[in-house]
């Protein structure tokens, strides 16, 4: 029965209307309005879904690891209410301001502490910094084979078989276990939390680990453990002007739109 680990990040809701997010350029920080609530990174919910499908088929257990600060318990517990078994939070001021390298260092140490496992499953990218580095970096640091952009994950005969999304279709790749997988949205909708799941999750207490708990020095994580530095954070200015085409009816507006494109030599 496979032992599965999922890495899930708390991010500001990426479906918030464009433009609601602001940047404090003097502090190089993102300013989130209260209207944008934190959620589990959508791809990571799909990583949980991939793990749950394996558990449905084969049994086993799912441990979720989330690294961050100000982790909202009702948000980060969502994987538990979907059916995951355990939650570990890497939460400490020392983790603040890290990059992919420091994030991977901390997650790798936590995974080693968890002990034996068959698969680590990550999302293809986090919806805030959109880097797409952590899963692949983890595989390198842990010395694991890695298959990225999975749309289907199966485990059989001690091996993992993955349908990996490529630009014009998919390829089927197999690997020995243990291995690391990153999942893409083609995997399909994650399941809803059930009432039973929510009740069970509310009773579970996540483990909270500091750098010392995973055998790391504070200098290896967060801002001091970075390899890349943020020089500038800003918002592009847009000079938007849309010419609205109107007519007696919306059908006429459609016709006039075509005419306008012709006079503007667009078609």
């Amino acid at each position: 029965m496979p032992k599965l680990i999922v890495c899930a990040k708390q991010v500001p809701d990426p479906e918030a209307p464009p433009g609601s997010l602001k940047v404090d350029t003097s502090a190089n920080k993102v300013v989130l309005p209260a209207s944008i609530s934190p959620v589990v990174n959508p791809y990571d919910e799909q990583a949980v879904e991939a793990a749950l499908r394996l558990k449905d088929a084969l049994g086993g257990s799912i441990t979720v690891i989330s690294l961050g600060n100000n982790l909202q318990r009702d948000v980060v517990k969502k994987p538990l209410s979907m059916g995951a078994d355990e939650l570990i939070l890497l939460e400490d001021p020392a983790f603040e301001g890290g990059d992919a390298w420091s994030t991977v260092t901390a997650l790798a140490a936590a995974i080693k502490k968890v002990g034996e496992f068959d698969l680590v499953i990550c999302g293809r990218q986090a919806a805030d910094w959109d880097a797409g580095q952590v899963g692949l970096g983890l595989a390198e640091m842990l010395g694991l084979p890695v298959i990225s952009l999975a749309q289907k994950v199966e485990v059989m005969d001690g091996r993992v078989r993955v349908e990996r999304v490529i630009p014009d279709g998919y390829e089927v790749i197999e690997s020995s276990l243990p291995a690391l997988i990153t999942v893409s949205n083609e995997l399909g909708e994650p399941r809803y939390a059930t009432l039973k799941g929510i009740m069970a999750a509310s009773k579970k207490q996540p483990a909270v680990w500091t750098p010392a708990d995973v055998g790391l020095d504070a200098s290896q994580v967060g801002e001091v453990g970075r390899k890349s530095k943020l020089v500038r954070l800003f918002q592009p200015t847009k000079e938007a002007h849309c010419e609205m085409i109107e007519g007696e009816s919306v059908e006429e507006a459609g016709t006039l739109l075509a005419d306008r494109l012709r006079t503007a030599k667009v078609i």
Partner: protein, 331 residues
């Protein structure tokens, strides 16, 4: 090599042809190397690819490292990472660039972690800092709602670059460059096995190359709406793309998703129909010359991204628009 290698890029070859991203990377690499006073190298990995080395030189490379072996026929994470690690160690470039493509998304982070190098992914602007001479790599973050510029103290410094963000140089067939091979090959036996590859047939014009793209969204309500788009696309010799919402619903193939995690298109005309214009979708089409929108919600963000717009139900607007377009094209 006489002068130091400033920039090493990784080439991509598709069915014997250099991919556009390679020419874009070469254009950017020349600019950066000019600012650093060094040379441009290119790693050419594949099977039966050696022929394109001269073209790579014509587009701006001074050195091409050719690794032309059957084992590199298909991109496989393990083999490509090992070979690229060897190429970087042998050529010792200051900067390593690759496309933020299917290959670069996988290879870039692995190579960076193997080399202990700082990496910025999906960059749209690259520059050299005047005083530190470090690479300044700018990339969209928060789904395109903000931009961040990164630098790193590591050697090498790495970046993956978004398609269509950089400008290629016109080819100069008289340019001189040298072709080299690897002095030692890494072990290419792999743990991963590629057992199958399932490709969707693309009919008509390829989405990334189409001069006109019709983008359909959730508001189309089902696959029938996409048939209308497809019909108009044929008349315009264009292609149909879709938002993730539409692809996730199975209304149009996932391989035609446009956006941050889909294809990047930059056609002369992008016709956005019944899609809201989320920042993640716009990441894949904001480079279009002209964007027009048909949406029933006057407040939809897509109107902030468009030059021309009609507010209305696409079921009424689109047939009239399509009919007039066809009439105009026949004239």
């Amino acid at each position: 090599m006489a002068s130091p290698l400033s920039v090493l890029i990784t080439a991509e070859v598709n069915e014997g042809n250099l991919s556009p991203i390679t020419l874009e990377l070469l254009g950017s690499a020349r600019d950066l190397a000019g600012k650093l006073g060094g040379q441009v190298g290119c790693a050419l990995l594949g099977s039966g690819v050696a022929d394109v080395a001269q073209q790579i030189i014509a587009h701006g490379a001074d050195h091409v490292v050719v690794i032309d072996v059957p084992a590199l026929q298909d991109y496989l994470s393990d083999t490509y990472t090992s070979v690229m690690e060897t190429v970087v160690r042998q050529t010792d470039p200051e900067i390593v660039l690759m496309g933020h493509t299917s290959m670069g998304r996988d290879l870039g982070p692995r190579l960076a972690f193997r080399l202990g190098a700082g990496l910025a992914t999906d960059c749209i602007e690259l520059d050299i800092d005047n005083s530190s001479k470090q690479l300044l790599a700018t990339r969209p973050v928060y789904g395109g709602n903000a931009r961040a510029t990164f630098a790193t103290d590591t050697h090498p410094q790495m970046a993956t670059v978004r398609s269509k963000a950089m400008t290629p140089l016109p080819p100069d067939p008289s340019r001189q460059g040298e072709t080299v091979t690897l002095s030692t090959m890494p072990d290419l036996t792999v743990g991963l096995t590629l057992s199958d590859r399932v490709k969707e047939e693309v009919k008509g014009v390829k989405l990334e190359d189409a001069p006109v793209v019709l983008g359909g969204g959730r508001g189309l309500g089902g696959p029938e709406g996409f048939q209308q788009l497809d019909d108009l696309a044929r008349a315009l010799k264009g292609a149909v793309g879709a938002t993730r919402a539409a692809c996730d619903n199975g209304w149009w193939p996932a391989s035609s998703q446009v956006g941050l995690t889909g294809k990047i298109v930059a056609p002369d005309l992008y016709i956005a129909i019944a899609l809201s214009g989320s920042s993640q979708h716009m990441a894949g089409c904001s480079g279009s010359k002209t964007i027009i929108a048909i949406n029933k919600d006057p407040e939809a963000n897509i109107f902030k991204e468009s030059q021309y717009g009609v507010v209305g139900d696409y079921r009424q607007v689109l047939p009239a628009f399509a009919k007039r377009v066809k009439d105009l094209l026949e004239k």
